[in-house]
Symmetry: C2
Subunit: 292 residues, 2 copies
Amino acid sequence: MTAHPRLSLNQATIKYAPFDEALRLTRAGGYESIGLWREPVAAVGLDEAARRLADSGLRVSSLCRCGFFTLPEGPERRAAIDENRRAIEETATLAAAGAPGSAAVLVLVAGGIPAGSTDLAGARARVSEALGELAPDAAAAGVTLAIEPLHPMYASDRAVVSTLGQALDLAEPFDAATVGVVVDTFHVWWDPAVFGQIARAGASGRIASYQVCDWATPLPADVLLARHYPGDGVIDFTAFTRAVEAAGYAGDIEVEIFNEAIWDAAWAEVVERTASSFERIVAPHLSARVGA
Amino acid sequence: MTAHPRLSLNQATIKYAPFDEALRLTRAGGYESIGLWREPVAAVGLDEAARRLADSGLRVSSLCRCGFFTLPEGPERRAAIDENRRAIEETATLAAAGAPGSAAVLVLVAGGIPAGSTDLAGARARVSEALGELAPDAAAAGVTLAIEPLHPMYASDRAVVSTLGQALDLAEPFDAATVGVVVDTFHVWWDPAVFGQIARAGASGRIASYQVCDWATPLPADVLLARHYPGDGVIDFTAFTRAVEAAGYAGDIEVEIFNEAIWDAAWAEVVERTASSFERIVAPHLSARVGA
């Protein structure tokens, strides 16, 4: 089987596949790249995961995820910051083990409003403070912290960073190699300002990851699982992909789908359908290749 | 019973109450104002509804709703435009029948992306075109078309207007008395730019309606019904109410809640709880009175 050379399978798309199986299926599907998650890496152990990744010959396009640093000062916040420091080290280790062209990119989900609070502004300020604490560690490790704006329907309980513009505002005080942003079509497709912000992100060299999946309604009962294959919903991937290309992003492009029906399907079939939907919907608008 | 003099009960909060009962309950709850919906008005007939509203002594704060004009040119679009013209006339008739201080405000929900399309930009452009067609009718009738930005989770199938800034961009070509915006906390609470946009809306005199209800998670299976009494969720009503006050809005404030459990509760209890939550959460941040 073949897959586009810039396509990366985000491991969450075949969430229930064990780590080895995810590597094998990705490789067998003709992909050159994979986006890893911390939990399955931890399940086999970081060093062992790095060895197996190296053996696979795959690039790693990102590590999902850390962040969740909106709590006020106290032991829980300290634990969250420490967890992010570990995730930075994991990112560096895995990127070093992946094939040439691997990206040392740690995806950050900000976290929601602390329970019982209505202080959204305060939660957002604490994201900025956390980045300030973590940036030196990331810089020392050669890791890019990639702030992912999440769809505003997750703003209360998962991510107080809701737009690409806001993510860029948070990133701007830092070196672009240290703090960047994720452009995930599912989260930002609705934003009237998004194309201007993609250009802004490109101009400052801050697009650390481009993730694609589609939006369709009705939303499922669990709105976290509302994602679809590119082409199965309403998102204009032509416009998004051209905008991200024009902004100069030339890295791997992850397909990351949370969807119970897709998780329950045969993994090899999901891997193949991901590649074919990418080929049909996204690839025609790409020019650059990784390393080109 | 008493209620704050600027509080208006949006009729949808007691959705299953017949028109007469909604007027009676609102009056009995000590409210001075009600936000009407077109369907229950149509059920009794416009002229009869206007007579009963006049008899009630209540102000009308807005008429919900029309819009839904994102379809491309053709008979369906023409029908939508005609429907909006009827809604403009209904708004004028009801505002004239309501007590002094009534607002001739028609709430507009833009409509979603047409089935099978991924052209969000095109759908948004057609909202602008529809406003251009309808503005002369609204101006002639003395009606304000109030564009309501809806939460981005409704952007695909209900309203392609997703932020207050976008609504103001759409409104700006027109006279402020003719095209304004709705600030509904449920829809805009997450927006990092919202307080600046509220100030902008106030500076141009375009806040046609301020609606309050709260956001809480988990979202219900039908995300349209995710609204709560002020104070029962994460929204900072202090910040929002102060911002809307500072922007110069001195009109009625509607509580509009879509929530199956609240719809199924005893109407009088809902009317009372709406007033008490408003008194506790919103009223302390108000200074001006209608007509003051």
